[in-house]
């Protein structure tokens, strides 16, 4: 029994030590460059890579169903390396993995998460010499609030957050507005009601946009108004859902569904009568999100990673990628090769005004979660 007690005690101490050490690392990273300079491999990540240089297999950490397997095979054959792909489901899961010390050569975080990772010293600067195809990016994807420069990332694909509308259920002349989610009089007639994303930033952001505010607004009174807007229409909001919103729409369970462009468009395409549905961006403006390729500061094969980045940013490969995953391409040179079908889907995005990128609001961020919880009551 004494042995048992000792074992518990030593493991407990070990756990606390691990926790404490982890904490020290975490605390030092944000204030940045000195820590990086001290550990030479981090400071030197990929700085000396030449064009098309490879220094090992590519360990890629990506969203699922986001990369055409044929592009991977072609890359493997061309450069004689293997690509090992792992998947994550959310930016937060990705961040937790990277902070826990996971080692990957390339990750694909979304906009606001790129900003957070830069602040925490998790990303290596992009080596421009190894990635000449950066020049293919459209201008608006090189002026980014989360990564000015851009210094640490290169846009991979983009999309929007808008509304899938069952036109046969709501009628031809519906307003192209967030009123489709939040106006009690309008939505009361919708068979099955509406579906809102169960995501504090997206749900509160949609309500803020409806009220005419920025979705990055940090005024608590405005957030309270947004919360009241949602709670004022709870009767007609059938569900808060971030996973099955496209299925619920085409199954006829809801008449209007709040969701991400790519999934919604694919869901509509697989419906029995795709013509009955439309993906719209409300006139008040909506969320624009951009996923980005980035090389972690602790990457083991940064040269392969930059070569891969350059490969994806190639005009032909960029078109292949978009034709495969139906998301928008930030690659201007690739536009020529993109199928008309995909271009049609993204036509509303090109014309839309008031599109905004979600920015991290720092300490204010927790309010979005609290006010959405409050709205649901």
């Amino acid at each position: 029994m004494r042995l048992l007690a000792r074992l518990i005690a030593s493991l407990t101490v070990l756990a606390i030590l691990v926790a404490a050490c982890g904490g020290d690392d975490g605390a030092e990273e944000p204030d940045g460059t000195s820590a990086e300079g001290g550990e030479s491999p981090q400071g030197a990540t990929g700085a000396g890579c030449a064009l098309d240089e490879v220094d090992g297999d590519l360990n890629l950490y990506n969203w699922s169903e986001y990369l055409d397997p044929e592009l991977v095979t072609a890359f493997e054959e061309q450069y004689g390396v293997d690509v090992v792909e792992d998947f994550y489901e959310s930016n937060e899961a990705l961040l937790a993995q990277m902070q826990a010390g996971a080692v990957y050569d390339m990750i694909v975080p979304s906009d606001y998460m790129v900003g957070i990772m830069i602040q925490n010293g998790l990303l290596a600067p992009v080596n421009g010499e190894a990635v000449p195809n950066l020049a293919n990016l459209a201008e608006q994807f090189t002026e980014l609030p989360y990564d000015p420069g851009p210094e640490y990332s290169a846009a991979y694909q983009y999309g929007t957050t808008g509304l899938g509308v069952n036109v046969s259920a709501v009628g031809e002349d519906f307003p192209r507005s967030w009123a489709l989610l939040f106006d009690p009089e309008l939505t009361a007639d919708f068979p099955g009601g509406v579906s809102v994303l169960n995501d504090p930033r997206e749900a509160m952001g949609a309500a803020l946009k409806y009220l005419g505010y920025s979705l990055n607004d940090t005024d608590l009174e405005h957030l309270q108004e947004a919360s009241d807007t949602i709670s004022g229409n709870l009767e007609n909001i059938a569900t808060f859902d971030s996973d099955q919103y496209d299925e619920a729409l085409v199954a006829g369970e809801v008449a209007v569904s709040h969701g991400y462009s790519g999934n919604m468009i694919v869901g509509i395409g697989e419906a029995e009568n795709p013509d009955d549905y439309e993906y719209i961006l409300p006139e008040e403006g909506a969320t624009l999100w951009i996923d980005n390729m980035a090389v972690p500061a602790n990457a083991e094969h940064p040269c392969t990673a930059f070569t891969f980045m350059n490969y994806i940013l190639d005009a032909g490969n960029g078109a292949t990628l978009t034709n495969w995953n139906y998301y928008g391409t930030p690659n201007e040179a690739a536009m020529e090769g993109v199928d008309q079908e995909v271009l049609d889907f993204y036509a509303p995005t090109f014309e839309a005004e008031g599109l905004e990128i979600i920015e991290d609001t720092g300490d204010y961020e927790i309010n979005f979660t609290d006010y959405l919880a409050q709205a649901k009551g």
Binding site: I8, L11, A19, P30, A93, A251, G252, E253, F368, Q374
Partner: protein, 319 residues
């Protein structure tokens, strides 16, 4: 039935016979046992027990105790501006927030849902377990397998099936329409959540109840009836107290997962009312407020622990 059929019961005052299966530590032999030998044998047994339990012990410490300690440590940490958890400046802010009106409301709501789920499960399972336990061995085994069959498919898949059943195109709605009624939808209501939870957790209630009832000595009920107890009194005074261990175990097995339920409220309730499980997940994934999420998790565990101890005590008293 005659008195002679009643099994002989020991006269009051004699110690109960040792339960079967447990090793008798003090063999009542005529040989004198020296205290040293006895102590050595006890030590040897303890050592053996320790080594047998070692693999599961290491497993539990590494994968349960250590992560739990980490959660505990995190609950006193601070969220920095980027949402990263800073393991310094230890404080009780997260625990203080637990007592805000909003959190208490969410907590009470989850508590209510878990209690109602447990009560419904118990009310439905007891007669069923009673029925199974009183069948012959063949029928009993078939019924038990039927109870366990749902476990062969994934819980998520089964919950999705309920989405269809309770949806506006589902069989319930179609029957209503065939009878000339309106199409109706239970999906995305609290009733749907309750149906999903009761469905999902009922086997956890049936199996311990069955185990308790099956072990019961039915001669005791016969004795009660012989002593002029009516059916209800015999149940209340004999069967129910003897099956209490099953009631306690089943209730705990249902109550605890119901309190933290996440998938069922999200899929069947449409996440329209905030429950504890959803709230904790959103602290970790949306607000990136790990300290508060950790404190919430610990608060839930604390309530579960208190409820379990309380329930065990109450159950033990009736035995």
């Amino acid at each position: 039935m005659t008195v002679s059929e009643i099994p002989p019961t020991p006269p009051p005052g004699t110690p109960p016979p040792p339960p079967p299966g447990r090793p008798i530590s003090k063999p009542e032999t005529a040989e004198p046992v020296t205290p040293e030998l006895e102590a050595a044998s006890r030590r040897a047994e303890a050592r053996r027990g320790f080594f047998i339990a070692l693999p599961s012990f290491i497993y539990l410490v590494l994968l349960f105790v250590v992560p739990l300690l980490l959660v505990f440590v995190y609950s006193f940490a601070t969220r920095d501006a980027t949402g990263q958890t800073v393991l310094e400046g230890w404080n009780l802010d997260s625990y203080r927030r637990l007592f805000s009106a909003e959190v208490l409301e969410i907590f009470l709501r989850s508590l209510l849902l878990a209690t109602v789920t447990t009560a419904i499960c118990l009310a439905l399972s007891y007669p069923f377990a009673f029925y199974i336990a009183t069948r012959g061995p063949r029928v009993r085994n078939i019924l038990l397998v039927l109870v366990m069959i749902p476990f062969w498919s994934n819980f998520l898949v089964r919950t999705y099936a309920w989405r269809v059943i309770l949806g506006s195109e589902g069989p319930l709605s179609q029957i209503s329409q065939a009878l000339g009624g309106e199409p109706f939808r239970l999906l995305f209501t609290n009733v749907a959540v309750l149906i999903g939870l009761v469905y999902g957790f009922m086997p956890f209630m049936v199996l311990p109840l069955y185990a308790a009832l099956e072990r019961m000595d039915w001669h005791l009920v016969e004795a009660a009836r012989d002593l002029y107890a009516d059916g209800w009194t015999a149940f209340r005074k004999v069967t129910l107290p003897l099956s209490m261990p099953g009631v306690v175990a089943g209730s705990i097995l249902v109550f605890i997962p119901s309190l933290g339920a996440y998938v069922t409220p999200a899929l069947l309730g449409g996440a329209r009312t905030v429950l504890m499980g959803d709230y904790i997940v959103s602290q970790f994934l949306a607000a990136r407020n790990w300290p508060f999420g950790s404190a919430l998790s610990f608060a839930v565990m604390f309530v579960m622990l208190v409820a379990t101890i309380f329930y065990f005590r109450a159950g033990a008293k009736t035995l």
